[in-house]
Amino acid sequence: MSDELNQRIIKVIADTQHIPVETVKLDSTFAELNIDSLDGINILFALENEFNISVPDEAAKEIRSVRDAVEGVTKLVEGGTGGASSEPVHAS
């Protein structure tokens, strides 16, 4: 996982939650960040748009921390269902 990718993912999480990006650490759990189940699926929606990937429901259930999100997205991006360099699907 690249630092640049990590930072992009962290920024998406921070933006979606409307919290300062520096409060989101790689080791933060969603619970620590007050991210509940609805926030979680909203973050996945934002990540899917940002990286043009599709996160399966079963994998989504396992994402409970920033690191889980980073690892999950990295796997999908490297697996070729999307591309780290590809343009976001939506501008916002």
Binding site: D36, S37, L38, I41, L44, F45, S54, P56, D57, A60, K61
Partner: protein, 404 residues
């Protein structure tokens, strides 16, 4: 003076059939109406199955001009109301028309019509909107049409509280009849949710099962979306007796509450309070309840929370009552769910046969109730509850008594 309220007519259209007889046959047999989705292109969806009303031919029920005016959701509402009125044997005199009310429920009304409008406007760049969009989309389209068709001029309105919509509607109608505001009420609700736009929104919620709906089963993987409509005729006992009407059941109580908690996560305290209030409103004791038609969506959260709520309300009696989720067969018809399930509950009391929870595989310690797995059960219950708990934490519970 408070009136006793009885149910004298039933009508339903859902994945299990286009009338009450077919619906009951499927419930008795534990048949599921969950199938691969046909109404929209399912290859574009992560989930594949739904509980659609198959083979519904609008032209059997409506003139083409009416079909132009009525979204599928409103058609379901009207078709089920017609069946309920016919079942009750109601003859609308000018006096009765003034003394009859209508309350319907729908979560998203004519959203499929709206979806088509958006496709036309944004994708096909057609700058002209369809002038019939507004009357088709409005949530009260079914109630209005029922009023026109039968000439009913009493109080009529529509309730929208997501998955509790039609339980709230029936409860309001029940109280109107009980309080003597009207003598008769047509009460129920309808929903038609199979549009690409709406299904995509559900897909994003990640609560729809990839296979089927298995309420209370340890391997449950989410809800299955359904559609349909159902209506009850509620009538004062006095009037029903005077005209020698057939009585399906007595409606004795209604309870409602709000969780004040979370927009999607349920809270057992709110659900428990609505059940307690329905029981108290009915002047009955918890021990008289023998059956609960659960909200039972088949999601991890709902079924465990509902189990906790039932245990909180009934204590030891929770081990003696039977609970099933008929959503395992007709899917989750959102704003129509309460009405469809009220019909299931009433028929269960009437025929002394409790509909099962279909697709059930294995016990879950978090849902340790007698959920009538897979096979209907003969049992003459005195009273029953029918639960609806909505997103947004709005709860509505009906209490019914077997008519003997």
């Amino acid at each position: 003076m408070r009136q006793r309220v009885v149910v004298t007519g039933l009508g339903v259209v859902c994945a299990l059939g286009h009338d009450t007889a077919c619906f009951w046959e499927s419930l008795r047999a534990g048949h599921s109406g969950i199938e691969p989705i046909e109404g929209v292109d399912r290859t574009q969806l992560r989930f594949q199955n739904g509980a659609e009303v198959r083979g519904f031919d609008s032209s059997r029920y409506f003139e083409q001009k009416d079909i132009d005016l009525l979204d599928r959701f409103a058609q379901f509402c009207v078709v089920s109301a017609r069946e309920a009125v016919a079942d009750a044997g109601l003859e609308f005199t000018p006096e009765l028309r003034e003394r009859t009310g209508i309350v319907t429920g729908s979560c998203v009304g004519g959203q499929a019509t709206e979806d088509e409008g958006f496709v036309s406007l944004y994708r096909r760049n057609n700058p002209r909107g369809n002038p019939l969009t507004i009357p088709r989309v409005m949530n009260n389209a079914g109630a209005s049409r029922i009023s026109q068709e039968f000439g009913i001029v009493g109080p009529a309105w529509t309730v929208s509280t997501a998955c509790s919509s039609s339980n709230h509607a029936i409860g309001q109608a029940f109280r109107m009849v009980r309080d003597g505001d009207v003598e008769v009420a047509v009460a129920g609700g309808s929903e038609a949710i199979f549009s690409m736009g709406f299904l995509k929104s559900w897909e994003a919620m990640r609560v729809v099962s990839p296979d089927t709906c298995r309420p209370f089963s340890k391997d449950r993987r989410g809800l299955i979306l359904g559609e349909g409509g159902a209506c009850l005729i509620l009538e004062t006992l006095e009037r029903a007796r005077a005209r020698g009407a057939k009585i399906h059941a007595e409606m004795v109580g209604f309870g409602m509450s709000a969780d004040a908690h979370h927009i999607t996560q349920p809270l057992s305290g709110g659900a428990a309070r609505a059940m307690r209030l329905a029981i108290a409103d009915g002047g009955i004791q918890p021990e008289q309840i023998g059956y609960i038609n659960a909200h039972g969506t088949g999601t991890t959260a709902n079924d465990a929370t509902e189990t906790a709520a039932i245990r909180a309300v009934f204590g030891k009696h929770a081990d003696r009552l039977a609970v099933s989720s008929t959503k395992s067969m007709h899917g989750h018809a959102l704003g129509a769910a309460g009405a469809i399930e009220a019909v299931a509950t009433i028929l269960g009391l009437e025929y002394g046969l409790l509909p099962p929870t279909a697709n059930y595989n294995e016990p879950d310690p978090a849902c340790d109730l007698d959920v009538i797995p897979n096979q209907a059960r003969a049992a003459e219950m005195e009273c029953a509850l029918s639960n609806s708990f909505a997103f947004g934490g709005l709860n509505a519970v009906l209490a019914l008594r077997r008519w003997v």
